[in-house]
Assembly symmetry: C2
Homo-oligomer: 219 residues x 2
């Protein structure tokens, strides 16, 4: 029979998976807000971030209680502390969805994205959805290959990020400095969103294998 | 007499203060690299980031050992977990110094900063130095007023950030899209650097007062 203590540890993992779903929903809505200049969607993402922050905060409290009351062994401790770091990464992914939503809100009723770049932003939204969905699976299964595979999805995001960079810097760019900055910043939000997923993958590898966690490339 | 255990807790705090010094040195050198188009300085910041990451990594290992071997009481646990979060913020501040250094390296031998904006970037560097130095003091003393005061220094940074934004978007801007993007991204790195200091201040307030930690405005 499993103990109440192990049930609590499982709940901790479930909370992380739940966060990936909240973050995924937020980024999907933020992308729609951006592409459709949809103010209601933008405001919804911005207001909804509190719920993601609240889950992260609750997890921190639960971890403290678990450690204080149960004195977990070294492995469980490592899982708990890594879980808090993962929760912090997911919280920041939620913040990046908010940044995208705010970019949409700032230009409303105009669109922050010139029409010829809509398809690239749409693709970035798709990649964001793919990587955070996979992150949820990685957290649920602790599948190392899938965790390492997050970096491959991140390569897709980096490719799109560079594509946007080239577009705003090309001689054909017709939209001026403000639109170039909007696009660059938004593109960076998506890129960092994917970076955080890669970081989470590395943390999961660390949990499973005990191999040292590498922070390379993470900000 | 103080126990070895409390000595270890103190060392944990000292490691955080040490990190503020490394981060401060990195950002000073990165600002110089940016203003003087100094490739050697830029490379030095980029290579030096490993040392900051290593301190953060060591702290995580130490925290795990402390918790596993000493079963600290609730208050000490809270301090340890908050310390890990603070260490993660400092690690990211180091990454932002690297981003500034990379912006300098990318444009070398040219400068990424048009001459009329040098003074604003210089001021941003000064504010960065001020806020991280004060952060070190806050970590050493746990002075709540000083911790809250970090937000006032951050206001100075936000003011400079807006000033650069206005400059690149003004009709007088003569330097094209690429320079506008360079300046905007660099400005954002400084702004986020200061944001992280504010987050650390909030964590210290949380450690001292037990008041809930607010994540508002942090990414």
């Amino acid at each position: 029979m499993r103990s109440a203590y192990h049930d609590q540890l499982d709940q901790f993992d479930e909370a992380l998976v739940h966060m990936t779903k909240l973050v995924n929903a937020a980024m999907i809505e933020a992308t729609n807000a951006l592409l459709d200049a949809d103010l209601v969607a933008a405001e919804s993402v911005i207001a909804g971030d509190e719920a993601i922050d609240a889950v992260a905060h609750d997890m921190e409290e639960q971890a403290l209680q678990l450690v204080a009351l149960q004195a977990p062994v070294a492995t469980d401790l490592r899982v708990l502390l890594s879980g808090l770091r993962i929760s912090a990464s997911l919280e920041r992914m939620g913040d990046l969805a908010v940044h995208v939503a705010k970019a949409a809100r700032m230009r409303y009723p105009a669109s922050a994205v010139p029409i010829e770049l809509r398809s690239v932003i749409t693709e970035m939204g798709d990649v964001a959805e793919r990587i955070v969905r996979r992150t949820g699976e990685v957290l649920a299964t602790r599948d190392i290959d899938a965790a390492i595979g997050l970096a491959v999805i991140d390569d897709d995001m980096d490719f799109l990020h560079r594509q946007l960079f080239h577009a705003v810097l090309s001689e054909d760019w017709q939209h001026g400095v403000e639109a170039a900055i909007d696009v660059t910043l938004v593109s960076r939000y998506y890129e960092r969103f994917a970076d955080h997923a890669v970081t989470i993958g590395k943390r999961v590898v660390h949990i499973v294998t005990g191999e040292p966690y590498s922070t390379a490339g993470v900000e």
